[in-house]
């Protein structure tokens, strides 16, 4: 299965929208069945969705606007400029020119573990952070591949996309939790006053099952989306650098490095180019935020040999 970068980009975009629709459907199914179970009507379910929608949106807006600064602070990143890190600055500027993006802010994390992440809600507020270890261990071409990957997250609005998915997954969790608790504490009294009888009882059982299963499956879909966006960023990086080998070599070096990144945790793990929390696991896992690095390297290598586009377009 050797696909060119344009096919890779199109395929990963399609896949993430399909997954996104799955989350929306889960959310609607949960809201409606709980509404029917409680009030015996669709309107009740809609009101329920609306109430939790407001809570989830407000909550996510806060993380959306404050998230970038928080992620940078938590990772211990320090802002640099052309004077202090000329090569890093130049490579970031090269990639932002290739992507047609404004120049992002550039940060360095003083850690030996080679890694990098991008953050910011839109291209105008973007920031790229790399570790000292990455700068020491990669050559210019490999660094370009990594920065291309990070700027692709910015260009593809991945932070916004992840926030959107997060809002819905959060809503599903909240609604399911609320329903299970109220049922447990016998808050379901209003249910009987509706007078729906047998059908309502069936809906109640369905709602109970959904409330238990939906949060877990929504979470799994969220991880699957995150993995698709990583593949997408890899393919988009190649579109910028026209050099799949640079990123493939960089991923190989990052994967081979045993140094752990101390300042990263589960909350910020999904931002990095390579998962800094769990490392060197061979089997793909449903709960992974990142696809297996070997798979990413394999796809990039295939791009290097199978596409004529590199010569066609770079020769212009």
């Amino acid at each position: 299965m050797a696909l060119g970068m344009y096919e890779q980009i199109a395929r990963n975009k399609r896949a993430s929208w399909v997954l996104m629709s799955t989350v929306v459907l889960l959310l609607l199914a949960l809201g409606f069945t709980i509404g029917l179970a409680y009030w015996g009507s669709v309107e009740g379910g809609l009101g329920f969705l609306g109430l939790f929608g407001v809570v989830a949106i407000v909550w996510s807006l806060i993380s959306y606007y404050a998230g970038a600064g928080m992620a940078l602070a938590v990772s211990g990143a320090r802002e640099v400029d052309h004077g202090t890190e000329p090569q890093l600055w130049n490579v970031v500027e090269e990639m932002s020119i290739a992507a047609g993006l404004p120049m992002p802010r550039v940060y360095v994390i003083e850690s030996e573990a080679p890694n990098a992440f991008a953050t910011g809600r839109d291209p105008a507020h973007a920031a790229v952070a790399v570790t000292r270890g990455l700068l020491q261990k990669l050559n210019r071409e490999q660094l370009q591949g990594v920065i291309g990957h990070e700027l692709s997250h910015v260009r593809n609005y991945d932070i916004r996309f992840a926030t959107l998915v997060g809002i819905m997954v959060g809503m599903i969790a909240l609604i399911a939790d609320f329903f299970l608790r109220s049922t447990f504490w016998g808050f379901g009294g209003r249910r009987r006053s509706g007078g729906g009888g047998g059908i309502q009882a069936i809906f109640f059982v369905v709602a109970l099952a959904l409330a238990i299963l939906a949060p877990l499956s929504a979470r799994l879909v969220q991880f699957a989306i995150s993995r698709k966006r990583e593949y997408l960023a890899d393919a988009s990086a190649v579109q910028l650098t026209r050099n799949p080998s640079g990123l493939a070599d960089a991923l190989q070096k990052i994967a081979a490095d045993p140094t752990p990144l101390r300042r990263a945790n589960r909350a910020t793990a999904h931002l990095y180019i390579s998962n800094p929390v769990r490392k060197l696991r061979e089997r793909a896992n449903l709960f992974d935020t990142h696809p297996p690095i070997a798979d990413r390297i394999r796809i990039l290598r295939a791009m290097a040999y199978e596409t004529p586009t590199q010569e066609d377009l770079a020769a212009l």
């Binding site: 000329p86 090569q87 130049n90 490579v91 020119i97 290739a98 026209r242 377009l313 212009l316």
Partner: protein
């Protein structure tokens, strides 16, 4: 009764026609706007190439100044770089094609300068020369990425003004095709002659 019914039908028909006209207007305006946006992107990405080319023109005298003491025997190589730079500066504003040719020639002289510099180990130990070389490498890359983005923008724009339905709007409002920025010189474009005798 019948008069009222006819009146009702007329009102409906008029409303339908008005709705169609309004909808058509919105669609046409959207197409026009997207063409303007594409054209602005082409202009903007062209100016980005220009910025980087100027930066390269500014860096070269510094480089020549820094290396000339070490490379006293390479006067010819150095003067070729200086001449090519002057020609590239002069070609500015003569359109993508002329400019691309002059810049391509300058790139070649720079390449031969760096190749010759390999023979001077003390040059590579010089911090000033090293950082100038990083800046020139970066500028070369920026030029080629800016060119890549410019050419992509031109491709999307040209496709838009030549394909249905936007070509109608393009014809009406005089949107014209743009040139690609190609760096190949005449010599590079010629097929390689293989002499097997």
């Amino acid at each position: 009764m019948s008069v009222v019914a006819v009146k009702g039908e007329t009102v409906v028909a008029v409303l339908v026609i008005v709705a169609i006209v309004v909808l058509l207007g919105i669609v046409l305006a959207a197409m026009y706007n997207s063409l303007v946006r594409r054209r602005n992107q082409v202009d903007n990405s062209w100016s980005q190439i220009d910025v980087q080319l100027k930066r390269r023109h500014d860096l070269i005298p510094n480089l020549v100044e820094a290396v000339k003491d070490y490379m006293a025997y390479e006067q010819e190589t150095l003067s070729r770089v200086t001449e090519a730079r002057a020609a590239a500066v002069a070609a500015g504003g003569r359109g993508p094609e002329a400019q691309a040719r002059a810049e391509g020639a300058l790139t070649e002289t720079l390449r031969s300068l760096f190749a010759v510099a390999e023979n001077y180990p003390e040059l590579k130990a010089n911090q000033n020369v090293m950082s100038l070389q990083e800046e020139l490498t970066a500028t070369e890359n920026k030029i080629s990425f800016a060119r890549q983005f410019y050419n992509d923008s031109v491709l999307t724009y040209n496709n838009k003004i030549q394909t249905v339905p936007t070509n109608v709007i393009a014809g009406l409002f005089n949107f014209t095709r743009r040139e690609f920025f190609e760096t190949q010189t005449e010599a590079e474009r010629e097929p390689v002659k293989v002499d097997l005798r």
